[in-house]
Amino acid sequence: MLDWLAQLGRHGLSFFERLGRGHLLLLALLRGVPGLVLRPLLVVQQVYSIGVLSLLIIVVSGVFVGMVLGLQLYNTLVDFGAEASLGPVIALTLVRELGPVVTALLFAGRAGSALTAEIGLMKATEQLSGMEMMAVDPVKRVLAPRFLGGFIAMPLLAAIFSLVGVYGGYFVGVGLLGVDEGSYWSQMQSMVDFDDDVMNGVIKSLVFGVVVTWIAVFEGNDAVPTSEGVSRATTRTVVHSSLAVLGLDFVLTALMFGVD
């Protein structure tokens, strides 16, 4: 019985320890970000490997999500004779919810896991401690550029996802199912508000970008420096950041759209 309690306590303590280390790392990262103005190339390289290389999966999923939305919603809406509302429904779903959330989930799988594995392997092969020996701060040189790169890439990816999805829905709704093109766009424009819908989506994607890259960088930096440790850290990145994104999405949605 006492053993069981002690184990519970140990788990609790290690959980809070990790939480504390995570926040200390976030502070160090934020302090490291201003110094990157002097070395923009480091950030550019990270935006490339985090953002540009994620572009394909984001665009392809965006098109298919938009097309599926178009098909599904059309079949439901046509029963009510409201297929003219296809445009606004697709646009609102994408801009408010699916754009930021699905992008963040894909981003966690595509870029977050890669970040964790890269940093974890750097740690396992003692590149990070090697840098410290040369008086180069690995947080500033390795972690902060990745953090900033993710922060920049995520909202851009989410915007591309939403736009491509709207065109995917347009292709299916207007091109294949015969919804009127004019009502698709004009209803969309009259229902979607820039400040309330588009900007809130952008804010969501900014928050998700910070959370996913923070978790990825932290897990990599905190990984047990063995091959097994790195693989576990990579798994944890994907699981934890996906859960964090979904949980935070509910909180943000409740804050933005829940209370009038």
Partner: protein, 156 residues
């Protein structure tokens, strides 16, 4: 150095594409372009019933959107709803005796305010009031009235 340059070009393309997507979302998808709400003038109208009308609902003349509802208030003295409408600056030629009606687009669509221009030489100014109004048709009342009429005629 070729490698670095390629990376830089790709990142440039990516950032430009992302910003362009955001711009397109603003222009094509959302209503940023429809009516400049900042410029323009506000008019009010009193209605007996505005059920279903919301803030941000469109205001149209001849089916063309000219502005939007900015606020809906209740006047405790007259028990009427006061609707504030922001009309775009380009539509400042509305006559003083313009009438307003709360209409529905389609059978179950959204409510909007339709303006019907009159023939007065003077035009509505900022803060002006539209005197002639027609309330929204409440479907339940209509059905109730219809059933009542049927019952009445059936009795005779």
């Amino acid at each position: 150095m070729m490698q670095v340059r390629t990376v830089e070009i790709w990142v440039g393309v990516f950032v430009a594409a992302g910003l362009a997507a955001l711009f397109m979302l603003a222009m094509q998808v959302s209503n940023l372009t429809v009516v400049g709400d900042d410029k323009g003038y506000t008019v009010t109208a009193r209605f007996e019933n505005v059920s279903g009308l919301k803030v941000r609902s469109p205001v149209t003349v001849a089916g063309v959107r000219v502005g939007r509802v900015t606020a809906i208030e209740f006047d405790p003295q007259t028990f009427q709803a006061v609707v504030f409408m922001r009309i775009g600056a380009g539509f400042d030629q509305l006559p003083l005796d313009t009438s307003a009606a709360v209409l529905t687009s389609g059978l179950v669509g959204e409510k909007y305010v339709g303006l019907e221009p009159g023939g007065d030489m003077d035009v509505l100014k900022d803060g002006g009031e539209i005197k002639l109004t027609q309330s929204t048709l409440v479907l339940e009342q209509m059905i109730g009235k219809f059933l009542f009429d049927k019952a009445e005629t059936g009795k005779e």
